[in-house]
Symmetry: C2
Subunit: 637 residues, 2 copies
């Protein structure tokens, strides 16, 4: 109702000369972020006109003359964006001002829920199983892609020195970095519908969310490289690399730390009695991760991604049922709206963005470059990875991986963040067009491609599990917490029955650490720290074990299982239900503790493998017999 003064009037132009010189970074002159304007407002005379606005820029002592009966008022103005250059068209400029969408909103409001939700809804089971391959594609592959694209664009720039004269090699690399963030949102939607092979799904999804984080860090490093270029090439490279590692590792740690802190908070307090408060804190803690990382000059995107993974892995177990479904549904909705907004905005901005720069050859070369970059990322890395993997990545999977290199939200957000210089504007135009074309072409052709390449579709996760473990028959009568304390005694039994996944040494170590220390510390799950810590730490362990955890009853056990379902390797009976049948179920239900059961990597180290002998064991409370159904019905959507 209270309208602010919005009459239009003009002022004569007055040159204002800055006292200090601009020292523009990155060879561009950027406008100041904020202006403070001083107005001399007459006092007492309410009908007085013509206050004399006095401009004073951002700060500093402001000597003012005698003001008479006027009071000085300082008003802050913040930078909103650049206006279209046609300064003689008043209406046009006004529209353009209204249509200028603050790119910081992308980074601070729209991207965080998308990235957080990616971490929060990650199919962790298959993600962790393929962690090595995913990290190789994401870290090494994205870097390869960035440099390939950068080099190809450099070639183009040297071919056309006239039209692209403002393009430095650094700009080329920057373009390589922002365009290397893949976003296979349409491909994954189709995968989901068709129930495509879960390993392929995990590879595509895992790579895409990690390489977003890497692309954004890489782009920052390339900026830092430009800043330190005067130190010499090698020093600058090392600086940039150091910058990359520093930002990525610290963001990772910061995000994980907040995630774990939330888990501790929900474990050691009675928050779950107040579900609304619990959900609110969960949402606010998660978002504060992003803000905190940005305030610390780290990467908020990386932090919020790993925070999401931690929240799902630990905190989710401690939440009340109401909070579980509430947080799931909220982040799903936020993600859905934000994603739709970005893709809508990409399309709209193709027509409304006033400063598009079109260069036919640049766009053609960019398409070639991203295809080449993607190919040199996927195929060589797959060959190398297949040396180390027992279950190879088949060639048709590699084709699908190549094909799923769509560009989307993150590339566009990075491109639109800075459109001050001409090269950046050219990048934005190209990135928008590449996003639109790849989403339509690659998204539209995915079903045909899957059919052409005979990629298995309609695979249920449980079926997949059964296929994977059809050679493995185990029984565990010797599974007690005692075994947990000496996991390496029977480890290392290499043989034909050993699953391909066991090769992932790092993953196995992480599982052990996770099951023994992290989950008992951060969640209500069994075994508790009192079981897993050495005897000397018993007092500490007792302190960190809740009564709820010690008296873990039927109810809580099922709760844990629900969430573990996504988290770690789990018997087929848990996910498959009736379809898989009793044979598989009894194979896997060999301990009386759900947690031991679900971490099969761990069990495999400790347990004896019995090939082709099916021994049905029941848990000490008869719980195992009803597991399949219970997990199915109780699992959060």
């Amino acid at each position: 109702m209270i309208k602010q003064f919005f009459n239009h009037y003009s002022l004569p132009n007055t040159s204002v000369i800055p006292e200090h010189n601009y020292t523009a970074n990155n060879s561009q002159l950027l406008p100041p972020d904020a202006l403070w304007i001083k107005f001399n407002v007459p006092v007492g005379d309410h009908n007085a006109m013509t206050p004399a606005p006095v401009v004073t820029n951002t700060s500093g002592p402001t000597p003012v003359g005698p003001t008479g009966t006027s009071v000085e008022r300082y008003y802050a103005y913040v930078f909103k964006g650049e206006l279209i250059n046609r300064y003689d068209e008043k209406a046009d400029r006004q529209i353009s001002e209204k249509a200028t969408f603050d790119p910081e909103i992308f980074f601070n409001i729209i991207l965080p829920p998308i990235i957080f939700n990616a971490g929060y809804s990650l199919k962790r089971r298959f993600f962790f199983r393929n962690l090595g391959a995913i990290m190789a594609y994401a870290f090494i592959g994205t870097t390869i892609s960035c440099f390939i694209v950068g080099s190809i664009m450099r070639v183009l720039v040297s071919l056309m020195p006239e039209t692209l004269k403002e393009f430095s090699f650094n700009d080329c690399l920057y373009f390589g970095a922002i365009i290397s963030a893949t976003d296979p949102v349409t491909v994954l939607a189709i995968f989901n519908d068709l129930h495509v092979d879960v390993t392929l799904y995990a590879l595509v999804f895992g790579e895409s969310i990690l390489n977003d984080a890497i692309a954004i860090t890489l782009a920052g490093s390339i900026d830092s490289f430009a800043k330190h270029y005067n130190l010499g090439f090698v020093a600058a490279v090392f600086r940039a690399f150091g910058n990359f590692v520093y930002i990525f590792v610290l963001s990772f740690l910061q995000g994980s730390f907040i995630g774990c802190a939330t888990a501790l908070l929900t474990k050691f307090t009675k928050l779950c009695d107040f579900p609304l408060l619990e959900s609110s804190l969960f949402v606010l803690m998660s978002y504060s991760t992003f803000l905190m990382a940005e305030a610390l000059e780290l990467s908020g995107i990386v932090a919020v991604l790993f925070c999401g993974i931690c929240q799902a892995h630990y905190t989710f177990n401690n939440l009340s049922d109401e909070s579980r479904s509430r947080t799931k549904s909220i982040f799903e909705l936020c993600n859905f709206i934000a994603e739709n907004f970005i893709f809508t905005y990409i399309g709209v901005s193709m027509f409304t963005f006033p400063r598009h720069l079109w260069s036919f050859w640049f766009i053609i070369f960019a398409f070639l470059a991203i295809a080449a970059g993607r190919a040199l990322n996927v195929y060589p890395l797959s060959i190398i990875l297949n040396f180390g993997r027992q279950n190879k990545i088949p060639i048709n999977f590699q084709h699908v991986l190549f094909f799923s290199g769509l560009r989307g939200a993150m590339a566009f957000a990075l491109a639109i963040r800075n459109t001050i210089t001409e090269p950046r504007r050219l990048m934005l135009t190209s990135t928008s067009l590449i996003s639109i074309v790849t989403v339509i072409v690659c998204g539209g052709c995915t079903p045909a491609l899957l059919q052409q390449l005979r990629v298995p579709v309609g695979v249920e996760e449980a079926e997949h599990e059964m296929l994977q473990f059809s050679g493995v028959r185990r029984s565990g009568s010797a599974q007690t917490p005692q075994d947990l304390r000496s996991p390496s005694i029977t480890g290392g039994q290499d043989g034909p029955t050993r699953s391909a996944y066991e090769k992932a040494w790092l993953v196995r170590k992480w599982y052990n650490f996770d099951v023994r220390f992290m989950k008992p510390l951060l969640t209500h799950s069994r075994p508790s720290l009192m079981d897993t810590l050495p005897d000397c730490c018993l007092p500490l362990a007792r302190l960190l074990t809740t009564t709820q955890q010690m008296s873990a009853d039927e109810y809580h056990r099922r709760d844990d299982e629900d969430s573990d379902d996504d988290l770690v390797l789990q018997p087929a009976g848990g996910g498959g239900g009736a379809g898989v049948g009793g044979l598989q179920e009894s194979n896997f239900s060999r301990t009386n503790s759900t947690d031991y059961q679900s971490t099969e990597e761990y069990s495999r180290d400790t347990g004896a493998y019995l090939t082709n002998s099916v021994i049905a064991t029941t848990g000490n409370n008869g719980y195992n017999t009803s597991r399949g159904g219970a997990a199915d019905s109780g699992r959060p959507a």
Copy 2:
């Protein structure tokens, strides 16, 4: 990662004289909303320094001199807020700039979910039953309170002409308007915990949400009064009154229209097969109501409130189960976070807001004034209302109503929206303090007060129903759609058995209209339009009736009932379950259509009243026998 240029440097001051004179509205000089700054950026020379920023204000032709090798760039700056006046303290000014919280965020981001959720989660049944009293308290009472407070403050101003010299009568009235928005959030939380009498709950809650909407419209009208004061007093009063009616009615219509449009959209499409899309559209349509009203210069708060009520009343019936729980939980969470934010911010701003103006006498008088305003609102109106009400508002309820006049979010948001002039700053300081004191004192004393006044607590809704209708025994063997078409034939049977609620003529008329036209048109409920419209409109009715509605099966009937549960009067059996027992249940289950049953105002017009004769009838599908349990278990939280 990409940091914008943020070095601090100073510019010499230059006076800029506006070409046109400021025509400040409301006797204050307000700063312009936006500035466009022209920079002359040198081209080609990337290390060039000293661009000459040229200030050009908001618009107009800008004659520029020869620019040489430089390119003109226009950057838009938007108004952020006023800085503290201590211009010689640089650091202080920077902190103050960062702590300046844009008050528009309150109105555009934080208040809409609170108000929408108030409408969406309204206990409609009791709200509509007490509609007359609620509207009297809200419309008449808020206006009384506004003028009483304004007058008392005017007296104070005339007593202290020195210190409050800038205070006009208009400022006094404006203060009266913003401080008349009650927000009994703590009182209602306590009511909820203690299960206080539902009529009392409905009165307090209903009044508080409506008077927010009225206070905001009133504040706008008082502003408009000031603007038109030069037309003469009477003309200005009529203008202000016309403005009030115009804004309120149009906002109400706009909000209801969008709500009904969403209902139609969800009814006539297959959206419910895509719950995520459905929820997103629901959220976006609801929020767009607010934005659209603001864009049309109406009141977004009023529009979003009535949109919320329509969404709950109609659209909610058409949503899929997933969307129902998702939207409920999202708006609950948004409301919770937003409310907590506001109360936190009220507290924080008491210490950080740099321009508090303290006036001991003003604050003391303000407390007296709001107490007097509240008393002259509640007690006289209650006496008048009790003439017309069969179930009187007892004196202890009136005391509680008086006591629940806490000030909160809306008063603070209105006060902080404009702090340009001294009177407004004084208002903000007083409003913050009043909010804090009333919330702590009134909130803290509510349980003691309830005990002291012997207000019934621990009342379940169902019990309440039973008490209300214990004298009424009915049976309806003659209930067919035929009766619906002649509702006035047997109407008007006044007698001792007639419930007190029947007096509300307007409400009864609305019920009839709602059941016959609105619900059949906008939801999947029975009876459909084909039953309720006259025969001549049959083709149209057929067009507007979905197949789902025509073949309304068990499932959909229960769905409707779930939502109607909150909406309209319903038999005790529906809400009470086993506790109420079979007697009550059979009394009320006399028709075979849930909708007829639940609109007892309507039925009472048409049905025959049989005193003390209990006839148990079952619906044609045996559904009535299981109603209590089904409604209890299926009702959304």
